[in-house]
Symmetry: C2
Subunit: 226 residues, 2 copies
C-alpha cells in the first residue's frame, strides 16, 4: 500500500519505519522539507535528525504535505495534535477525499504546564474535528493510547497481550486499519464504534501520562480483561 | 473500622454490603432516611428496595448524612457525582474533618444524552472539587473506574489480575485506602500521586462506557501491563 505519514516527529518516524519494513511504500510529509532537512538535533528518543534518518531509510521519501498525500492510498496523521487540522488543510482536502485517514495524534495542550491537559475534550475530540473538516475522508482513530514504540511493536510489552482501540464511521476503513494493526502485532483490537468514541480514547491520555510518571516508563499499556 | 457509606444506590449498597461482610461497622447515610425507606422499586441491578435490603443486612444501619458521617472513622462518597459536593455539605464539614474520605463517584452529566459526558473535566475533577470544599478531609480517589460488583470482588474478572488506581494528597489516607482495597481482593494498586491525578481516573469513564457498549458487559477492567 502507498502510505503517506504526515509528521516527522518521533511518532511519524517510528510508524514510517515500521510500515516501510512491512513492505509498504512510505512517503513522509512535512510542511517544509528543506527546513526539516536543516534540523541538526536528534529527537527526544535519540533518533537522528531527518537528513541522516532518511539516509538510513533509503526506501522512505520526504515530500511536502500535499505531495505526500496526493499519491497515497492511506494517510497517517502523526502531526502534533495542536496543529493537525491546519496540517491536514495544507495537505489539501482533495488529497484526503475518499481515503483512509488513520488519526493517531492527541490534542495535548502544554500551555498550562505539565502534565499537559487536552485542548479538545469531553463532548468533542480531535478525530471528530478532523472528520468534520474533511467529511469525505475516512477517519479512523487508533494508536493514540500508547507510546510510539509500543504502537508498532506491541510484543515488547507483556508479550503483546494488551489492547488497542479503534473507532470511526466507515466500516471498510476500520477493516483496513485493523489489518495494519494486526500486521504490527496487535491481537486484541476493540472497535469502540463511531468516531465520537474518539472522545474516550483521547481522554485516556491524562491517566496515561500519570501512569508514565508512577511507573517511570512509557513501556506499558492497558489490557482490557473480561 | 466504623465506616459511613454515603449514598443508597447500587454502588452504595454494594460497597456497604462488602465492608460489613469484612467485619466493619457500616452506617449508610442518605439525605432523608424516611423517603429512602418509602421507595418500593428494586434498583437497576435488581437489588431490593432499601427497606427490604436493610432487613436482609441487619448489621447495617441507615441514618441521615450528618448522623452517618459524625461517628465514622472513614467516609465513602458513593453519592451521585452530580450531587456529591452538596451531599457532603449536608453531611457537614466538621464531620469530615481529618477523616479518610474515599471518593468513588463520577461526575457524569446525562443532560446531553447517552453516553453521558463529564460535568467536571480536564483541568479539574470531582475529587479536587471535594478536596477544595473540605480542605481538612483526607480525600482519596479510587474505585470509580469499574462497575460496583468488580469494585468489591475483583476476582470475578480475569481471576482478579487487573489494576486499581488511587490518588490523593495524604500518604496515610492512601495507605488506609490501600488496605481496604487489598481486603476487597485488589492486588495491583497503582498510586497515581496527588489528588489532581483524579482528572485522569475520572476521564477514563468515557472509554469505559464505550467499552461497556462494545463488549456488551460491565464485567471488565483495565489491566495495566508493563
Amino acid at each position: 500500500m502507498r502510505v503517506a505519514v504526515l509528521g516527522t516527529g518521533v511518532v511519524g518516524k517510528t510508524i514510517a519505519d515500521r510500515l516501510a519494513g512491512l513492505g509498504h511504500e512510505v512517503i513522509v510529509g512535512t510542511r517544509d522539507p528543506e527546513a526539516t532537512l536543516m534540523v541538526e538535533e536528534t529527537d527526544r528518543m535519540g533518533n537522528p535528525p531527518m537528513k541522516r534518518w532518511l539516509e538510513e531509510h533509503p526506501a522512505i521519501q520526504l515530500r511536502t504535505l500535499p505531495d505526500a498525500a496526493a499519491g497515497a492510498e492511506m494517510i497517517v496523521n502523526a502531526t502534533n495534535g495542536a496543529g493537525s487540522v491546519e496540517a491536514l488543510r495544507s495537505a489539501g482536502a482533495s488529497n484526503l477525499a475518499g481515503k483512509v485517514l488513520m488519526d493517531i495524534a492527541n490534542p495535548l495542550d502544554f500551555s498550562r504546564g505539565m502534565p499537559p491537559s487536552l485542548s479538545v475534550v469531553n463532548t468533542d475530540s480531535l478525530a471528530e474535528q478532523i472528520q468534520r473538516e474533511f467529511p469525505t475522508a475516512l477517519v479512523v482513530k487508533t494508536l493514540n493510547t500508547t507510546n510510539a514504540s509500543v504502537m508498532v511493536q506491541p510484543e515488547t510489552v507483556h508479550g503483546g497481550d494488551h489492547t488497542m482501540f479503534l473507532c470511526g464511521d466507515d466500516v471498510g476503513a476500520k477493516a483496513t486499519v485493523r489489518t495494519v494493526l494486526e500486521s504490527f502485532g496487535w491481537t486484541d483490537i476493540i472497535d469502540l464504534a463511531d468516531i465520537t468514541a474518539a472522545r474516550g480514547s483521547e481522554m485516556i491520555l491524562p491517566i496515561w501520562l500519570r501512569l508514565m510518571g508512577a511507573l517511570n516508563t512509557a513501556a506499558f499499556n492497558f489490557n482490557v480483561v473480561r
